[in-house]
Structures are given as structure tokens and as C-alpha cells.
Symmetry: none
Subunit: 463 residues, 2 copies
């Protein structure tokens, strides 16, 4: 691709920034809250607005009904490139309560401040309208400056991401032929810091298990039975304690089978990122890392599997005291998985671990909640290398390649249903207050996000 | 005492049984749950009802306010006897949750069945309203048949027994001159079996502790923080597991200091009682004894200290799943003590045990619930011999002299503050489901309990 062509597109971005902001503001004014049925027509309006905008850009755009809120799908055949990318974003937003905590009406977007510190304030400014519009504006700049897209581009915009993406799996299955591409581009994540973009290549999977342990056939008085009757809360405690070794590793048999250590190059990069463990933990009132000894917080969250106790209940938990030995007790326990771990094997290993600790006159029942494998983009992926090069050109430094401790369900669905890897590149910041009152998006995120996608599209076009 | 006088009182008991049941039912209808502040006025109502009933019997009765629920105190100078007995019972009852497991409304007492198998069903039917009313009805029969009590009788009815008896120590100190008697009679224990009454001469003490562990300053997402952030439910599990050794003994430092093995003579009597461990456990759906290896169930409950987990709550415990690392979690834990153990030392040892397991960036707060030492009545007490004779006359066989696993804190307070021994004679059964849904009391327990007290009062009057 001629260098002066790319420069022309980038110049177009900067020249058109004010108009880009106007369009984002128009989208932000639509209160497309997906979890509240009262806002269904606004979700439809947001989908219509996006399809109209994409059609105006020359995309073959349509609004597709689902059992929930509609999908927006758009395609552009692009210039002569063998590459096909699928961009994913979501146009629905979180509810705005508690409204009293907002310093401005959440659906009346405004620009506050100027220069480097200017921000766009509105519900959805960051999550995910601001982020998805970085890609649409990049497409617009390509079209305006060159008349075409540098590669074949498909776009999928969802309206139920904040409501559990209920319609997505069936929609992907039904539209697989249309949506399958060489790579998915997902813009719903954070930058490393204000100077450093990030590509998320690892996402942990999740296995949730609920156990209920029953011992005696009724609640017992601890005076009359204490010592001699098995106490299910004692068993729950012993099971919880048995799940971690003294060194903090997870003690379920075979838990680490297939788990590989972080490549040394990645570990080096992570060290160089200067992640501030003290601040990360200090922000939530902690100072001593838990978990596996000898591994950094960043590695533990991004690249190591974990086991967490999410809830326990049993016995008398009201005011005062009741000297009861309860008949039953239960716990919710989840495992975060990394690449190489099979969710079903982990589930079975956990159940065997628990069963081995239940006396023969007691019983345990298991309820599974979700089972998703981890996602990991191969470190040597040429598309990753191309995207990293584009980001380096825009930001003047290496992007951080990171793992995310949480799950982003759509990425798993793309992998499972379309056999497609994802590049997670976003320009949000941890202080954007997504899901909270007073959400914002930096104008710098918006402008340099658009420019980043312009470059990434150019880079990925070169198959 | 003329034998025909005693016969007249016993005949009065049988003739008045229906009216006695009516009065018990009236008391059972008052939901005097002491642990829940919402029921305070019902505790007051139960105290008022009892004082009114005792005044109607000719006792000098009054309701005495405390910082918690009131005490009922009543006195009758009785006939010319040198003996003064103090009867103790408690009018408060346990909470009723889980309400869904009750087969009938807990405060709508009813009579179910007939003849030998008739039972009174209600919360408090056994613990302790049914039991305390056996004594009041015995007094009523004495008054009705002879016009007076055979000895000087004082009565103390408490309303905080199920809530740790917080007001009792100060009340006993302030009322020592009024309440000190030759012996305390306490009706809050079980019979050995349906044919054999029991006098409990050993009683376990109790120390209750509630711990709340706080880690992060807010609930955390287990994806973003899992592994690296300390989880208070994990800590609770580890603490629970650390409280018992693999051989079932309690692992708190110094816990068994001062604890002596059961005397060989008592061990022999217990063996002769033919206690059926399989049936005892089988009745509540269990078959494998828990607790200390190598000790019988009877010894473990009657003569060995224990540690029980009475309640645990933390994290998400509703329907479905939430991948949260909670900011806090709490547990209620109690210790049953035997002679030789100091409640304050046990409490401090437990707190030290827990503190040693709390990381420096987390915190634990302790709330103490009750602290009572174990009790042991001298085996050669003449009052014990008199009571055993009265029981032999009523039941036609020797009463069992046993140890009780439960704690009756007042007995320790009587010993400590009033220098007074207690005779623990109760008519409850192990299947009464006290503290559990569907509590009951056998009508036979009620009738023969009243008759037993009639005889015991006669026997004790003969100093």
C-alpha cells in the first residue's frame, strides 16, 4: 500500500474529527438500554441509525431481527485483498441508575475540557458506542480518502451485550457463512495506559460449580450432637481449604495439566510494562498478593488459572447465635481457566476431589454453571504481528500484549462457532467509569483509536 | 409428709391435666423468640403471662426488667420446711427458620395422636415452655390439693436463654439474697429413654464466637482479581479446616488443658445403660460417628469438649451464579466445654488461633456470644439421693445419672454467683426436634413430668 495513501486517510481522520464527534453524539443521544424492556424501541432506533450510517458509507448494511434486540450486519467487499476482517462492537448500553449520582443527563452527551484532557461525557461514551465508532470512522476516512476499504470488511454490531448476549449464539450459527472471516476485531477493551495501546490475546475461561452437602436428616442441636454428628459446614470448610496448597496453587488433581508457563519473551514484556502491583491492590484496600507464590499479580490474573469461592451459606446466619449443626450447607465455586485446560475435565476433577471428601453417610449434589475454555491467540500469529506494527506506527511505541482475567463471551463464541480468532484492541481507560454514573471517553482515545484502526486495516490488508 | 397427702396431689395432677395443657398452649402461642429484636414485645408478653399465672397461684410474682428481655421472679414461703428450692426455666424460644420445613405453624400449638403417643407440637413445646410448665403445674397441684407448697419455693424464669443469657449474671448478682436457695432445680434436659428418667450431673459449658473477616474494600470481579486478591471465604474455609486435627480432636492450642478422662465407675454405668450408637445416629440419618477417634458417642457428647461450626455466610448465595470475590464473610463457631476448661481462656485461644491465620492486609472482628463453664454435681450429694428416690417412686426404676452435651449457662452462673448446686431433671426426648422445625413434646413427658416434680418437692422438703 502506498505510504502517501495511508497518510491521506490519516489526514482525513484529523480533518473530519469534528464531524466524527457529531455523529458519535447523535448515537449517544439514543438511550439504548438493553436490559430494560421499556427501552426496546431505542435499541431498535440505535440499530437503525447505525445501519443507515453504514449504508451511507457504501456498506451493504441491514438490521436483522432476533428474539431480543436486533443485530446490525454490514459488508464491504473492499479493494483487491485476500483478507477478510469481521469487526464486532455493541450498541447497547448499561442502565443509568442511580441517576442522582450523574453530574449531567446521561443521554445528553457533551464535550468537556480541551486539548489532551478533553473528554466525551455520556452513558455509552466509552462502552461501547465511542469504541465502536472509532472503527466506523476509520472506515469512513478510508472511503473518503481512497474511495474503498483496503480489505474485505464485515461488521457485526450487537444490541444485547450488556444483557447476556442471549441471541448471539444462534445468530452466529445461522450466519456463519456470512460472518466467517480471517480474524475478528473486537473493540471493547482498555489501553495499557494513556501512552500505550494494548492487544489482549489471552482470555480466561470459566467453570462454575455449586455444591450442596447434606449430612443429618434434620438440623441438630450442637449440644446434643456436637462432636458425634457430622457437620456439613465443617466439610465445606475442609473442602475449601483442600482446594489450595500452602503455596497458593490449586490442589485439584490434574488442574495444571496442559497449562504452559508464560513464554519468557512475554514475561519480559510484562515486566517492562511497569505494572504497579501496590497500586492495583491498594485501590481495593489490599496490599499482599494472594494466590500462587512466586508469580506476579499480572501473570496470576492474566495467564494463570484460579479457583475462587464465590459464595457459601449454611446454618444460622441471622442476628445472634443458634447452636445448630445444620443438615446441609452449600458453596458456589468457580475456576478461571487458561489455554490447555479442558473445562469438562476440570469439572470432573473438581467433582472427584469433593466426592473423595464426603463421608459415606453424607451426600453431595453438584450443579454446573457455565463451562467455557480459555482463549489464546497464538503468539506467532502473523495478523497479531501486523496489528502490533500498525499500533507501533501510530503510538510510537510497542503495544502491550496482555491477558485478561475475565471472560468476553463473544470471543469464545467466535472461536467455537466460527473457528475464528479475535484481536481485542480497545482504547478505553480504567477510569472511564463504564457501568457507573458519569461515564466518559477521552477525545484522545477516540481520535487515536480511529487512526489506529486506519493503520490496522492497512496492515491486515497485506496478506 | 403423710402418704395420703402426696396421693391427693398426684390425683389432682391427673384430674387437672386438660386444664394444664390449655395453659401450656396459651404460653406456646406467644412467639417469644429472644434472638430477634422484632419479637421483643412477645418476650415481654410471655413474661407478663407467667407472672400473672404465678400470682394467681398465690406466689409473690413480678416481672423484672433487664437490659434485654425481662426476668420473672416468684416466691412462696411454703409449709414448715427448712428447705428452700429455686426452680429455673426459660420462656424464650429459638427462631423458627427455615419456616418452609415446618409441617404446621410453629406458634399454633396442637395436640396430635392419643394415648401413650400423643404429642404437643409447637416451637417451645419441649424447649423450654413445656418443661417449665411441668414445674408450675406441680406447684398448682400442691396448692390445689393441700393449700400450700411443701417447702419454700422460688422461681426464676429467664427470657434470654437462647440468646446467650446476657442479662443473667448481673441480675443474679443484684438478686443474690433473694434467689440463693439450698438447691436449684432446672428443667431443660432429656430423659434417658421413654421409660427411664435422667438426672444430669455433668453439663458442658459453651463459648460462642462470631467472626467477620474483611479483605478488599469492595466486592471484586473474580475475573479481574481472581488469584491475586485475598478471598475471605477461602480464609473462613481454611480456619474451619484448621480447627480439627485429622484424628477429630480440636486443634486450638491448649484446648484440652485441664480436661480429665471420665472416671472408670461412670464409664461402667454408661456402658450398662446400653446406649445404641447406631440408633442414636441412625435416627438423624447418620451412621458414621464424627469427632474424636477411639471415644464412644456417649462419651464424646457427655464428657468431651467439642467445636462446632453453626453458621457461615459470604458472597453470592442466591439463584444462579455470580463470579464475585466478596469483601467480607462471617462464621458462627461454638465450643462445648467440660470440667477443667476456662471459657475465657478458650475464647482467647480461639481468637489467637484465628488471628494467626489472617493476612496483615485483612481484618477480623470477633463477637462473643455467651461464655459458661461446665458443671459437675458431686456424686454423693444428699439432695441428689432424695431426687433419685422420688423419681424411682414415680417411674418404678432407677434414674440414669448422666452427662449432658448441651450447655445450660444458668447452672454455671448459679454455681459461680450464688454458690448453689443444681439438679437437672428434664422430661424431654432426643426426638423432640428442639431448635429445629416441627418441635414437639410428649404428653407423657408433660404429665409424668408434673407428677415427678410433685414427688421431688415432697422429697426435698424433708431436710
Amino acid at each position: 500500500m502506498p505510504h502517501n495513501q495511508l497518510d491521506a486517510v490519516l489526514a482525513q481522520v484529523d480533518a473530519g474529527l469534528e464531524a466524527s464527534l457529531d455523529r458519535l453524539f447523535a448515537l449517544l443521544r439514543i438511550p439504548s438500554i438493553s436490559t430494560d424492556p421499556a427501552y426496546a424501541e431505542h435499541c431498535q432506533a440505535a440499530a437503525d441509525w447505525l445501519a443507515t450510517d453504514l449504508a451511507a458509507l457504501g456498506f451493504d448494511a441491514s438490521v436483522r431481527p432476533t428474539e431480543g434486540h436486533p443485530m446490525v450486519v454490514a459488508h464491504d467487499q473492499g479493494a483487491a485483498s485476500a483478507r477478510h476482517v469481521l469487526f464486532y462492537g455493541h450498541y447497547d448500553v448499561q442502565p443509568v441508575d442511580p441517576l442522582a449520582l450523574w453530574e449531567f443527563p446521561p443521554f445528553e452527551p457533551r464535550l468537556v475540557g480541551s486539548g489532551d484532557t478533553a473528554v466525551i461525557r455520556a452513558r455509552g461514551a466509552s462502552d461501547d458506542k465511542g469504541q465502536l465508532m472509532t472503527f466506523l470512522e476509520a472506515c469512513r476516512a478510508w472511503k473518503a480518502a481512497t474511495g474503498s476499504m483496503p480489505a474485505k470488511v464485515s461488521i457485526l454490531l450487537e444490541g444485547e451485550e450488556e444483557a447476556g448476549s442471549k441471541s448471539l449464539p444462534a445468530f452466529l450459527d445461522a450466519s456463519a457463512g456470512e460472518l466467517e472471516a480471517d480474524i475478528a476485531l473486537v473493540c471493547d477493551t482498555d489501553m495499557w495506559d494513556r501512552q500505550t495501546p494494548a492487544v489482549t490475546t489471552m482470555l480466561r475461561g470459566l467453570v462454575g460449580e455449586e455444591i450442596e452437602i447434606r449430612c443429618a436428616s434434620q438440623d441438630l442441636h450442637s449440644g446434643m450432637f456436637g462432636n458425634a454428628a457430622r457437620n456439613p459446614l465443617q466439610l465445606i470448610g475442609e473442602i475449601i481449604a483442600s482446594l489450595r496448597r500452602p503455596d497458593g496453587s490449586v490442589a485439584v488433581d490434574g488442574f495444571y495439566d496442559g497449562v504452559e508457563d508464560l513464554p519468557e519473551a512475554m514475561r519480559d514484556q510484562w515486566r517492562s510494562l511497569g505494572f504497579d502491583e501496590s497500586k492495583f491492590l491498594g485501590d481495593v484496600g489490599l496490599s499482599i498478593p494472594a494466590g500462587e507464590e512466586g508469580r506476579s499479580v499480572l501473570e496470576q490474573i492474566g495467564a494463570r488459572p484460579s479457583c475462587e469461592i464465590n459464595g457459601v451459606i449454611g446454618g444460622y446466619t441471622g442476628e445472634g447465635f443458634k447452636t445448630v449443626i445444620p443438615a446441609k450447607a452449600s458453596a458456589k465455586i468457580s475456576f478461571r481457566l487458561v489455554a490447555g485446560q479442558d473445562p469438562q475435565k476440570i469439572r470432573e476433577a473438581f467433582r472427584a476431589h469433593v466426592r473423595a471428601r464426603i463421608p459415606a453417610d453424607c451426600s453431595v449434589t453438584f450443579s454446573g454453571h457455565g463451562a467455557s475454555a480459555a482463549i489464546a491467540l497464538p503468539h506467532d500469529s502473523p495478523l497479531l504481528r501486523q496489528a502490533l506494527g500498525a499500533l507501533r506506527d501510530e503510538w510510537g511505541k510497542e503495544a502491550a500484549v496482555v491477558g485478561s482475567g475475565g471472560s468476553i463471551p463473544v470471543v469464545g463464541e467466535f472461536s467455537r462457532r466460527l473457528g475464528m480468532d479475535s484481536l481485542l484492541i480497545g482504547f478505553a481507560h480504567v477510569d472511564d467509569r463504564i457501568h457507573s454514573p458519569n461515564e466518559k471517553y477521552d477525545v484522545a482515545s477516540f481520535r487515536k483509536g480511529i487512526r489506529s484502526w486506519v493503520r490496522i486495516l492497512a496492515a491486515l490488508a497485506e496478506a
